[in-house]
Symmetry: C2
Amino acid sequence: MSRTETDLVLVLSQAIEKNDFDNAFIALKGLRPIDVADALEQLEPTLCWRLLELLPNRAEIFSYFEPEEQVCFAREFPRASLAELVSEMPADERTDLFKRLDPSQRATLLPALAEEDRADIHKLSAYVEGTAGALMTSDYAALKQDMTVLQAMTYLREEAPDAETIYQAYVVDDQKCLLGVVSLRDLIISDLDKSVKDLMTSDVVSASAFDDQEDIAKKIARYDLLALPIVDKQGALIGIVTYDDAMDVVSEEATDDIHKSAGVSTIIGSIKGASIGLLYRKRVFWLVLLVFGNLFSGAGIAHFEDIIAANIVLVFFLPLLVDSGGNAGSQSATLMVRALATGEVVMRDWLYLIGREALVALALGCTMAAAVSILGYIRGDSTVALVLALSMVSIVMIGCMIGMSLPFILSKFNLDPASASAPLITSVCDATGVVIYLFIASLLLADLSIVPV
Amino acid sequence: MSRTETDLVLVLSQAIEKNDFDNAFIALKGLRPIDVADALEQLEPTLCWRLLELLPNRAEIFSYFEPEEQVCFAREFPRASLAELVSEMPADERTDLFKRLDPSQRATLLPALAEEDRADIHKLSAYVEGTAGALMTSDYAALKQDMTVLQAMTYLREEAPDAETIYQAYVVDDQKCLLGVVSLRDLIISDLDKSVKDLMTSDVVSASAFDDQEDIAKKIARYDLLALPIVDKQGALIGIVTYDDAMDVVSEEATDDIHKSAGVSTIIGSIKGASIGLLYRKRVFWLVLLVFGNLFSGAGIAHFEDIIAANIVLVFFLPLLVDSGGNAGSQSATLMVRALATGEVVMRDWLYLIGREALVALALGCTMAAAVSILGYIRGDSTVALVLALSMVSIVMIGCMIGMSLPFILSKFNLDPASASAPLITSVCDATGVVIYLFIASLLLADLSIVPV
């Protein structure tokens, strides 16, 4: 929290303790809901509730509380008050909160809610986290196609307080089947007696509730949609996902891919609030796997132990060379994994890309070979320099080929390309790098006596 | 392109060559602008233009062409036609195209544009890429505060075709100073004789044209804004950035961070279309730097060469141990860099986080030590196993501490935390890992004779 936020929380606490709500309101006046939420969630639950229950947009403010805080506060708030708050919340936020409550809290809360809200929660919470269904809200604006523009506008005016958005209105039939979409912009520029049917776009971009949230976000981004309607198998409209939720998904999915690239499994929830146990569990798998994976490098070294024993200078350059393969390979893999994830490249592009990568790798390898052979000449002699140069070029080229291909290979077998993490690439390149380096060394140094270090 | 898209392009080419525009239109009917653009940009420029000039929303379609394609096609289109197209394009898209044209193309195009459009391009193209100014459009809807709701609605109806959005209307005075914002939703639910001044929100979230695009996107995401007004130093409204552009920025910035984590410098533009030279230049810096950086590992090994010579089994485990430090450290760094980038953690959280990290690192290190000491016992003996276990715990703990702290240290010195790339962390951890491992080995193995491999 910034200093002003800390001051605000102090002012609020003092004001409430003195029952001085006027001063508390003045402090909060003009702040946006998320800013009010940031301040209120720092307060002790009872103090927080005393202020929250008096604010007109309390449900909106509460839905901006951090997820863990919402659960904490829900535990402390009086049951009837919580039920009232929950029923006023947006449908998707309400469902998210409900899913985080433990069974006893749910059992306490549910009976206090209206039948309609209970049914809505029941429906929305059935969807798996990470799908469109878990993201969507049922608070959409629906019109009938035989409505006139005037009737549609009147209806939207009434719906405005309850709908997530009225800027996109969905045209449905009596079975709630999605027939088309009409924007508020199109409505207000049209003559009042036109029918909705004439205005609407029938070819609606929609998605299924079981679609991955990443695909939802991509659709919304591609078509610059304000909201994406979600339909069931029969084509009936069951909810919408709005642009703001899609933006959060883009960020979440990027975070997940970034974590995967370092061998950290998917963490749902905040990093700051994560427990030691959770962080351990999400990280240990790849680390232990790679301990065993790195055995191949060790085995490669063991195979060439005689040449190492005879030329200890080789060990001096070992980390440098094998790391170069891993670094270059990681770069290639990272570029490809991200490009596949954003849809910028597709499987078909592989042949062109690998050809281009071979040339880039050659250029990089030669540059790095030049750098390392200078070091090799200083530390050893010209033969060592040659060994290093040849090894470097080969290691970098093969490293890049491995790094670039692995995401495509994984994708081909319907695995997540993001599993081609940097640690994995590095370990694979290490093993191949060790073998290449020591093999070249054994070819060129075999006849020589021990090279002084 | 998918198979249906390839078919579509084929159908279109054939239709146009036969001058059969009816068939071409039927093929395109009902497709959204971006889908039409995907098909048209595959056509040969002259064919493409023949179809494009007949489509009513041609400017919108053209702005969905890939940037490189836009420049290509701009070169081929007749000058007068191009000028017409460009003047119809949204202001931000038009400016982006203009910035990509070479000087001769600009010199050809500018005189053919209206004075107003020339001035607009001139103003918008002055902003540096990556700032709000380069992202914004000047096509916003502006109202006067003394307007009634009825007058405002009438005005917005007229502005609708030209404004990027009319869902957010900005209230300005005669000097164009931003006084407030009012949503179309609020307008339509209000009485027609109310004044805009009574409806508007005066506390407007806005930004400067020189703000980083990442901060713009964060603001839009935080406040769930449909559009963010951009003001100059005097507070005058100069443009808006809409949610769809913000979503693209979130994705771009994530891609940039992902690239940085692998030591690839910022690439502007597509990966698929990048030249060999560009890819080489963006990757070579870190790779060569790390070649020299890895010398420290080599020096560490050279220092302990006697113990290595006496115990070649140590070399067998060398890659495994030093890599573990790098892998664990990369995980820590990755988690922190991303959390800092999304604003989830701030500098102040460092002390708590490093304490927690120490415990997680201890747990991970012990698990990995157990794994490696089994291998050490099999390959060597119990002393080797002990050396490996102690080394592993120390290496992992120190690796995690380094990995977690480096982003904060960089941030403290106002450097980009994302420079704490995986290759950098790995190289630093390699050097420390080598020293720790061989030092522990020298302590415990010094008195023993050569351990058989």
